[in-house]
Amino acid sequence: MFRKILVAHDGSDGAQKAMAAAIDLASHYGAELSLISVIEELPKYAATLDEVQEVQAEAIRHYEAIQREASRQAAQRGVKAYDQILPGHEVQTIVEYAEQGGFDLLVVGRQGHSARWLKHLGSTSSQITFRAPCTVMVVA
């Protein structure tokens, strides 16, 4: 049923549960599994390029560690995982990536790191569910 699965992973507990569910599905359907982490921490209206690049480099190191662990878990189930780290707005970036990559399932955790800021505005998972071009599975 699913051939290409995308998991949004920000290292939160919700994302880890989503990852576990996605690995399970990918293993069951023999689907291709991809991880995406979005760097939202870039400083706005910076004074120097260095300030932006330093924050980006730090964020990449952070997400690479998260994705390495996630990929290791996938490999244990015989699933090959593709990694992607992109800067941008979390919802927009994930939705665009899902569309451009032709994914047929997007798996997200119900609450990520951004939830405490977006609690009253609608969570990231809600916005992704509304805008995604494919089936969305929200893991609680």
Binding site: L42, K44, Y45, A46, A47, T48, V52, G88, E96
Partner: protein
């Protein structure tokens, strides 16, 4: 002397507060330091002292040097034609437009109008870069062209700042002559120095760069020019050398951001008068429109001539309308040299900050090209002389 340490503690506390706020709300530390300076100047009665003025001036010089050193020489060579065209017009149009409005309509003195023109001519490389990073455009020909053009615009700004107010006497000739010779020999000399210095804890390479900046800055001061002019030029000529010395750049940046630039940006915010913001709100809005309008008039047709797509054209124009660092440096130069009043300074810095925020929001909301700039109405790669590289590689994990 007994006041020095409490004052230092006060300023560093403000800098620390700005850093924490910047991390929490993901706004640049520079903008937060200006904001903290505004609050401190208007509600705490904070003032500067000579040693603070020195550190702030030093911070501006190092900031300008680092800005020049961020250029990628290969990118500039590759997209030179487009970058120089867009960059020059991006500087000239708002410089002339803002100066004309300030002089003929707002009734400012000629020197105050010149400061207004310079402060509102700038483009913020860092703001543009961060915006493009979010869409992956920084690695596309479009993105690299825009970034290269930003450097040209800022070069125009520092040259204008260094030349318009200088005394045209022997000292200026000496300053220009020594600077020209220094710029020619500096890349080779610096490579020799860095190769022999090693990486001792005494940081001789950093001291070497500071010596050059201080020496040329001193000559600039003798000529009543501005020390940021040689600092930017030195940064530009050493940019290629620093590609192989990233650690040195990081060390200089650490020194600058921890001990120098906070004093500069807090001081920049200190002189912003909130009552003047309110009373000058109309002029602030008009000057904002003048700057943005002039950028549109200058950049949009040129970008169209280079066959940018419609969306990319407006995106480029809006990003070229941003400004922050050089705009505030220019305005503070004008205030400290008595060319503009505090009210005029307030108006200019407020416009500069507004141009860091509003055009960015407009560009992102209405004209953001597709990710990677390779889809939709983006210009064909061959129109910009290069191919569209992959921005982020996918790595299969086994």
């Amino acid at each position: 002397m007994e006041q020095t340490w409490p004052v230092a503690a006060e300023w560093v506390a403000l800098a620390l507060m700005a850093s924490v706020l910047a991390i929490r709300i993901r706004i640049s530390v520079a903008l937060m330091e200006i904001f903290v300076g505004v609050l401190a100047g208007n509600f705490l009665g904070l003032t500067t002292m000579p040693w603070i003025d020195f550190l702030a001036g030093f911070g501006a010089i190092v900031l300008t040097f680092l800005a020049g050193a961020e250029i990628e020489p290969e990118v500039m060579k590759r997209y030179f034609k487009e970058a120089i065209s867009i960059g020059v017009i991006s500087f000239l149009a708002p410089f002339l437009g803002a100066m004309a409005y300030a002089y003929y309509v707002a009734g400012w003195t000629l020197q105050a109008a010149q400061i207004a023109g310079i402060a509102l001519s700038t483009t913020s490389v860092a703001v543009v870069y961060a915006v493009m990073l979010e869409t992956g455009l920084n690695n596309t020909p479009l993105g690299k062209t825009i970034l290269a053009a930003c450097f040209i615009t800022d070069l125009g700004t520092v040259v204008a700042l260094g030349i318009l107010f200088a005394n045209y006497n022997a000292w200026l000739a000496v300053f220009l002559g020594v600077t020209a010779v220094t710029l020619v020999i500096l890349p080779r000399l610096s490579r020799w120095v860095f190769a022999r210095a090693g990486n001792p804890v005494s940081e001789p390479e950093v001291k070497y760069v500071f010596l050059i900046l201080f020496a040329l800055g001193g000559l600039a001061a003798m000529a009543r020019s501005e020390a940021v002019l040689p600092a930017y030029l030195v940064g530009l000529v050493l940019a290629g050398t620093f590609l192989d010395n990233k650690v040195l750049v990081q060390r200089m940046r650490s020194t600058a951001f921890s001990m120098l630039t906070p004093f500069y940006f807090i001081k920049a915010g200190l002189y912003v008068s909130l009552p003047a913001v309110l009373s000058g709100a109309g002029l602030i809005a008009i000057l904002f429109l003048v700057k943005t309008g002039c950028k549109v008039v200058g950049v949009w047709p040129l970008a169209r001539a280079f066959r940018f797509g419609r969306r990319e054209n407006w995106y480029t124009t809006m990003l070229m309308s941003t400004g922050l660092t050089f705009g505030s440096i220019s305005a503070l130069f004008g205030l400290t040299h008595g060319y503009i009043t505090q009210a005029q300074y307030t108006i200019l810095v407020t416009v500069v900050i507004a141009t860091a925020v509003v055009p960015t929001l407009i560009a992102q909301a209405f004209f953001q090209p597709s990710r990677g700039g390779a889809m939709g109405s983006a210009p064909a790669p061959e129109a910009l002389g290069g191919t569209v590289p992959v921005r982020a590689t996918e790595q299969a994990s086994d």
